[in-house]
């Protein structure tokens, strides 16, 4: 173990954290908007809307993220005159723009399935009851569907955030120096992969640990009644809750 190398490289890798976080947050935010749209199209009764949403989700979930990134970043170069004409080349030549675009399109497909699952999990009786009370469509959505769906979808969305943190590492393949990019650069320079891997791995694990706990905290905050009988909410938060055995089968492992 080369302690000097560890001392030298950890500030470099820590300095790359904002780049990773910037990629995660911007693509998650844009992706969520896209996903809501796709989920609504998917649940619509219009056949064309449904088919478009279904095709979009199917295609983006069946191909590797790496192909999607390369297709946008390198593939757009083939049509450079065209993109220059319509003024998009200014964006498409930037690697960060291509990375965020690819990550957004990708997470949009996965997240739309999560949102759809959440919306479909709202019990029919609750919708009937709300209608019987005379709620309008938009009020029904705001007061009943959305709050229930969001609680239902939260654990799966937490998974999605972690997958996105991991997925940003692929941005390093198109010259973006986020954590994995910097790690690769140092490894190629020093040829000591173990030390660098330990630091970079620890950073990713810390980020994902924070995400997991943040999502658990949000879950407790959103439905405190479910956790009232537990010995201590805080204790639960920091001990970490194991998923129930019967939900483990249903865990949908989406991967890029």
């Amino acid at each position: 173990m080369d302690w000097e190398l560890i001392q030298e490289s950890w500030p470099v890798l820590v300095a790359a954290i904002p780049e990773t976080i910037m990629l995660v947050i911007s693509s998650l935010a844009l992706g969520f908007v896209l996903a809501t749209l796709i989920a609504v199209l998917r649940l619509s009764t219009n056949r064309a809307c449904w088919a478009f949403a279904y095709g979009y989700v199917y295609i983006f979930r069946s191909t590797p993220l790496l192909v999607q990134i390369f297709l946008i970043y390198y593939g757009s170069g083939q049509f450079r005159p065209f993109f220059e004409d319509i003024g998009l080349w200014y964006f498409l030549r930037e690697s960060w723009f291509c990375a965020i675009l690819a990550l957004t399109l990708n997470t949009g497909a996965y997240t739309s399935e999560i949102i759809r699952g959440g919306i479909q999990s709202v019990p029919w009786g609750q919708l009937e009851a709300a209608r019987a009370c005379g709620m309008s469509r938009s009020l029904l959505f705001r007061r009943i569907i959305f709050p229930v769906a969001i609680r239902q979808a939260l654990p799966a969305y937490g998974n999605e955030i972690i997958l996105m943190v991991k997925a940003t590492s692929l941005a390093s393949t198109i010259t973006i120096l986020e954590i994995t990019g910097e790690a690769k650069r140092i490894i190629a320079e020093t040829w000591s992969p173990v030390e660098v891997f330990i630091i970079a791995g620890a950073i990713y694990l810390t980020l994902n640990f924070i995400v997991t706990r943040g999502v658990q905290w949000a879950e407790i905050k959103l439905s405190p009644q479910l956790f009232r009988d537990r010995p201590s909410m805080v204790a639960r938060l920091f001990r970490g809750a194991k998923p129930d055995a019967d939900t483990a089968v249903a865990v949908d492992q989406q991967v890029r």
């Binding site: 192909v67 790690a183 891997f197 089968v249």
Partner: protein, 236 residues
């Protein structure tokens, strides 16, 4: 976009891309097999009564699922040779530089990552078998191995099938990452073609379609397998 580039034979890249797809399929199948073996082992550890084994398996799944696969690939690719060399030097006194074959490196990286997901799937499937059935089997006097092979294994296989189908899809997609270390599968072949013809879109869209095709076909296969495994199961 010049589609003649994708022709068969010396003039086109069609046959190269096809062999790339075969390589993807080969490396994905081997990684998947490795992943299932690892997954079964760690699932057994997670379900064991020994605290130490539980902890080891927990650390494995947490670490592998929390770290980008690309980073793991760099570790094994750049570090695997050094480790082999150390072993070779210590045990056999052979000091020359050794490189792990690219295929093996890729297979191990993707296999380890698939194994973490497979662990959770198999563990869940074992827990889904009702405990009453095991008790009943014991009550009729089945031996431990008979209980395992006749009661547990057939049901676990059935319960795990959808999850393992997901793991296959992820393995297939993850093999694209091995292209960064130079194994000539779909992605690498597309990059080579794009570099020498200056038509990147043509090649990456071909790669895109190939992955889509592989995923669709195998997805259909898994659905069939599920239908077969669930024949005779009554559902509402």
């Amino acid at each position: 976009m010049d589609l003649t580039l994708l022709g068969w034979g010396d003039a086109g890249w069609g046959d190269e891309m096809f062999y790339g797809a075969l390589m993807t399929l080969a490396v994905a199948s081997c990684s998947y097999a490795v992943g299932i073996v690892i997954g079964t082992g760690f699932a057994a550890m997670k379900l064991s009564r020994l605290w130490v084994l539980n902890q080891i398996a927990d650390v494995y799944t947490t670490v592998v699922r929390g770290i980008p696969e690309l980073l793991i690939i760099y570790l094994v690719f750049f570090g695997g040779g050094a480790v082999l060399r150390m072993i070779a030097k210590g045990v056999f006194g052979y000091g020359e530089f050794i490189d792990l074959p690219l295929f093996v490196t890729g297979m191990l990286c993707i296999g380890v990552s698939a194994g973490a997901y497979a662990t959770e799937v198999i563990r869940g499937a074992v827990l889904a078998v009702p405990i009453g059935q095991i008790e009943a089997a014991r009550a009729v006097g089945m031996s431990k191995s008979k209980r395992f092979w006749r009661i547990l294994v057939p049901q676990v296989a059935r319960y795990a099938l959808p999850g393992l189908g997901n793991v296959w899809q992820l393995t297939l997609k993850e093999t694209s990452l091995i292209s960064v270390i130079g194994l000539v599968e779909i992605m690498r072949q597309a990059a080579v073609g794009a570099g020498s013809t200056k038509e990147p879109f043509t090649f990456y869209i071909t790669a895109f379609v190939l992955y889509l095709g592989l995923a669709s076909i195998s997805n259909r296969g898994f659905l069939r397998a599920e239908a077969w495994a669930n024949r005779g199961v009554r559902t509402a």
